[in-house]
Symmetry: C2
Subunit: 345 residues, 2 copies
DNA sequence: TCGTTTTTCTAGAACGATTTAGAAGAACGA
DNA sequence: TCGTTCTTCTAAATCGTTCTAGAAAAACGA
């Protein structure tokens, strides 16, 4: 049962290993009769096709693309936005009979050789919301693995599928300015706050390129507003709750809170509810992404076509006919009931 | 830049390839001085560690476990239950520096050699809600890849992490019986209904082992009830909507609807709302899984520790010290407002 | 001092396939 | 009939490691 290889089958049928290989990979290189005989014998012997590793080694194709997430994989799945991206990517991967390799990005032992990014047998990588300059990106570059990021990078030869973060946020800022908001708190993802204690950050400390750009965008159309940056932890519902609690329970309440992701904004919504505050009346709340739950909650947000983003990344990675290597996706401001005029002071 | 291998580094340093290999894999097999010299030279040459495929071939370890889902990968991500499972599994995978290989299970060309299950370089596989007898399972068995299922299989040597489906459903059935329900519709996952037209099934036509068992469980504690099995498509919100629409708009309305997953039940809830029906009063609704949204919606459901399920599967697959190969997880009936007494006839 | 153990390193054979270049025979056109 | 082109198949090299055995040198014990 064990140890059945191409060679075994070849010997059994009485042909060369090459021919057996061809039977699997290039059916038109041999007669149908022989091919069927080979396949039948293979089945009899319990041989289930060419070994994946060997094939990968020899042909240089792994048949899988890696997906890099920030932080814990577990976090990744808790955000419908990430899940939407994955779904789009998976769709294309499926089309090209390619598997998706989810890679844990434990920041520890990234220096040592034993991390997944180093080890993984992949043909390409999708980089999902990983801060620029992360060591994992260097490793990929070093290994010569093509990568597509969801952020616009600095290098002109880097592939990406992104939105115009500045412009998208500027739209939202304009909306808020028009409503009279001049005191805003922005909720961001931050590793340091993950311990549980919310932190207040400067723009330089944010880290994630997309978050920085969005804040810049808000500044652009809210030039006179005070913008504070707060984080309650990683990008998750609970972090939104904590961040908002910190803000709402302070003496210095803003008139609007902007979550840089919907999950965080929804967390903030929860914190408001608990305190008996009505979004859109007592305090304006806005998010980013437009995940399905945002609509149900009446959350004003900036919609981005996340599933399409995933699809586009997949195409760049897998479809040779896709020539465009830098794609800008459209965004749209979705105004719902969670945003309203700033209360008079 | 390209074509830098172990050999290149070995030659540059003036040692044998084996030694370079040891520098990466068995640091205590060579002097610290030499090891550092090797690593430094490797870095200079732009060598980024042993090639993944070659290593996998030679050592027989792929450094990844596969995850098999039914149907489209995209579906998988739309169910928080599946996502929870993945999160638990990912946690353990991370611990063992192992990647997760998501495998599309396109039922087409499963016969041909070009499907992912055949190709994937994996050390083990987690089988998530795949109907028993699926060809992919045979392929895995054939390849000699250890697999852990989320369903109790028939073979005594198969590993699984499951719940007592019958008992869990029986608990729910008892609750419904006590409330006086004798006319129930069960909403199940079904490929044939995926086209858009809901179907009514017999128990034999259900296919998924876990669904069958749950229905049996309901029968057990609802011996006098009429149980109809309906499907609006794959396991997703939209299918729940369609299935419930079919049921609600017919002449023959039941007094209770049981979704065999919460997403389906929540879909049914949506259909009820549209028709102005209040769950728990006009019609009783119950689900399965207890995903976060279930609590928010006040859905009566059967809770199963999904994340723990994922963790347990990971342990069996990766942790050599885990000896238990068949694990039964506890379940708990969670009664909320969506279930109430059956209206008098 | 001399045998024995330990440390440090190496040669060469796998691992299981794919690829390249080409051979043998069949089919073809004139 | 003879050269040419297809079709069908093969031999041998190669992909980049890791592994098994064992050699050489160093350290050790008495």
């Amino acid at each position: 049962m064990a140890g059945v290889t191409l060679k075994t089958v070849a010997k059994a049928v009485g042909v060369s290993p090459s021919t057996v290989s061809n039977a699997y990979n290039k059916p038109d290189q041999l007669s149908t009769a022989l091919r069927e005989r080979i396949l039948a014998t293979a089945h009899e012997l319990g041989y289930s096709g060419p070994d994946a590793s060997a094939r990968a080694l020899r042909s240089g194709k792994a048949g899988a693309v890696g997906v890099l997430f920030t932080d814990k994989l577990a976090y990744a799945f808790s955000d419908p936005y990430a899940v939407g991206f994955l779904a789009g990517l998976a769709e294309v991967a499926e089309e090209f009979a390619t598997s998706l390799l989810l890679m844990p990005l434990s920041s520890t032992d990234i220096a040592g050789g034993s991390n997944a990014v180093q080890q993984a047998a992949i043909d390409g990588a999708a980089i999902f919301c990983v801060p620029g300059g992360h060591p994992a990106l260097d490793i990929l570059a070093n290994r010569g693995i093509p990568a597509v990021s969801t952020d616009r990078g600095d290098h002109p030869d880097l592939s990406w599928v992104a939105i115009d973060e500045v412009e998208a946020a500027a739209q939202l800022g304009e909306h808020l300015t028009r409503l009279g908001h001049r005191d805003v708190v922005v909720l961001v993802d931050n590793a340091e706050a993950a311990g549980g204690r919310p932190v207040e950050l400067t723009l330089d400390e944010v880290g994630y390129t997309d978050c920085e750009l969005r804040i810049q965008g808000l500044h652009k159309t809210m030039p006179d507003a005070r913008l504070r940056i707060v984080s309650g932890g990683h990008n998750a519902f609970a972090s939104g709750v904590r961040g908002a609690e910190y803000v709402l329970d302070s003496q210095d309440r803003p008139t609007a809170i902007v979550g840089l992701s919907d999950v965080q904004a929804l967390g903030a919504l929860e914190a408001m509810k608990v305190r008996g505050l009505t979004p859109g009346r007592d305090l304006t709340l806005a998010g980013f992404d437009d995940i399905p739950a945002a609509e149900a909650a009446g959350l004003t947000t900036v919609r981005q076509p996340i599933k399409d983003k995933g699809r586009a990344v997949g195409r760049i990675l897998l479809d040779p006919s896709a020539t465009e290597r830098q794609v800008l996706m459209p965004t749209q401001l979705i105004v719902r009931s969670s945003s309203g005029p700033a209360p008079k002071r």
